[in-house]
Amino acid sequence: MPVAQIIINSIIRASELSLIALGLTLVYGLLKFSNFAHTEYAVIGVYLALIFNVYLGLDIFTSALLSAVITGFIAISFDRMIFRRLRKSSAIVLSVTSLGLAIAVRNMIRAIWGAEPRSYTIGLQEPLIFFGIRLTPVQIWIIVTAAVFMVAFHLLLHKTKLGKAMRASSDNPALAQASGIATEKVVVWVWFIASSFAAVGGILIALETYLLPYMGFAIIIPVFCATILGGIGNPYGAMLGALALGFAENFGLYLNFGNIFNLWGLFDVMKEIHIPTGYRDAISFGILIVILLIRPSGILGGRD
């Protein structure tokens, strides 16, 4: 497999994870807890889009947009019903509660749609082949969508009043509240943005692979890994972390670690050592553990 293909695959994976990781880090930065139900918002969005796209026959773009918006409102109502009552609780209480929510949501989806994989109706995908790289139009859309959303987020964060309020509330909630920045309003907006981004991210994944009720749980550790790697609480960290993880996962399987042992052919020993494909998931697990051991604040330091 040519290196260029691996790079492309890395970018695709990074694109899929980035929006979800961004949402997770936003919520953490503001409310200071790890939301284990976050990736389930992605799954909610995914299956809502299924309803619009497959059952109602809408095109995928409209479906995605509609489901992102609805997911946003669902997240706000979960906050109203559940997390708002626990604002003063410890991080672990919140995390365990979000765990319960996650279990309920993903199994509800499973109860409704069953365990078989599903797909959107997007027509046959003809891959473009150039310079030895294979790329389907969907994959191009994934990369473009992620990029567009990240730019939009950046503009939101720095060029709007809401963005300013978000930054202030995340840095110093007490001060923000005292100076009249309506923190609860910011909270509502953050939930909306975080979950709708997650929904879009999930749809991107589903576009490339398929829909499964447990897909949220399948990506929870990679998403946490990307978030923490980049520095939890820092949205740019989430983007960076997703990129780093995308590359780590793809190059991790490709690289021949045997080269390190035999010094690229100097010694005639251990010619081929690869990480077995069965351990693909373990790459993100391992990185997560290593990062937590040596630098929990992540690459960009985060805001703890």
């Binding site: 790890s34 765990l99 279990i103 373990a282 697990f285 553990i289 929990p296």
Partner: protein
């Protein structure tokens, strides 16, 4: 029917041990272990390895499971000193998954022959003293073994939590400053708690492996951890009896809904999913409205 009750009781007993173990770690030690199933898995596979590969006796398998999981618990406790509680929770989730992935991929450790290992699982795990009993009476014998282990586990953990050691744990739960200022090496305490928690989790794993006579990596998914969390949270964290109560309640709930499938015209798969939905909802409700669980932590009164 009676045999089914025996089966149910055995599983309740095994989960009771897991619940006591997690309660020790979280309820008393303040350590939110999201990887409890890792101890379960390690205990089961180690015990199986010893009994199946090395042809060791059941007791040795049990011991092996306990020690292996205890060591693992000690290992994952090392970074607790520097990690915030929810970070550590994620790390333990990842660690348990790595353990499972290891056993999923490394089928070679079980050698060739009838024991495939890997995704196929391992079958033919010999049950202790199986030949002494008939097929119908054996479960009752095994139930006795499980109850014995449960009682021992309860007493060990109860002794520990009632002792000065347990007192230090209670102080540590809410912050390191006070116990440190009192001269207690907080890191060491955490390691010991995790080692004991791991050991008891491993015991449960060994017991389940020999009961089912067959194990595969799909029996040790993260959902098992969360079911045990439901038991601790519902039953009452920081109370050993509460942990047992939680185990009984959740198990009862689980199995009673199994009977519903005969009366409610819903597909059993869907019913199974709905069961899990209810567990999730239960966790949320308890955290919102009954934070301490059913059996609250006891106040220690002197004289």
């Amino acid at each position: 029917m009676l045999e089914y009750l025996a089966y149910l009781s055995i599983m309740t007993g095994i989960y009771g041990i897991l619940s006591l173990s997690l309660n020790l770690q979280y309820g008393f030690g303040g350590l939110a272990n999201f990887g409890q199933v890792g101890f379960f898995c390690l205990g089961a596979y180690t015990s199986t390895l010893i009994v199946v590969l090395v042809k060791g006796p059941f007791i040795l398998g049990l011991l092996g499971g306990i020690i292996a999981a205890g060591l693992f618990g000690w290992l994952i406790s090392i970074p607790t000193a520097n990690l915030k509680e929810d970070y550590w929770a994620i790390a333990t989730l990842a660690a348990a998954e790595i353990v499972r992935l290891f056993f999923l991929n490394e089928d070679w450790i079980f050698g060739k022959g009838p024991y495939h290992g890997g995704a196929f699982g391992i079958g033919g795990i010999p049950r202790p003293l199986q030949s002494w009993f008939s097929a119908t009476t054996y479960p009752f014998f095994y139930l006795c073994i499980v109850i014995l282990c449960l009682i021992v586990t309860y007493f060990v953990i109860r002794l520990v939590t009632d002792s000065p050691f347990g007192r230090v744990l209670k102080a540590m739960r809410e912050g390191d400053e006070l116990p440190l200022a009192m001269g207690k090496n907080v890191g060491k305490y955490r390691m010991k708690v995790m080692a004991l928690g791991g050991a008891t989790g491993g015991l449960a794993g060994s017991l389940v492996a020999h009961f089912w006579s067959f194990i595969d990596p799909y029996a040790f998914m993260p959902i098992e951890t969360f079911v045990v969390w439901a038991m601790v949270v519902v039953g009452g964290k920081g109370n050993n009896l509460g942990a047992l109560v939680g185990a009984i309640i959740i198990q009862f709930f689980y199995s009673s809904t199994q009977f519903l499938k005969d009366y409610i015209p819903i597909d059993p798969q869907v019913l199974a999913s709905l069961r899990m939905v209810l567990i999730g909802v239960l966790i949320v409700l308890v955290m919102l409205f009954m934070n301490e669980g059913l059996v609250k932590e006891r106040k220690r009164i002197y004289r």
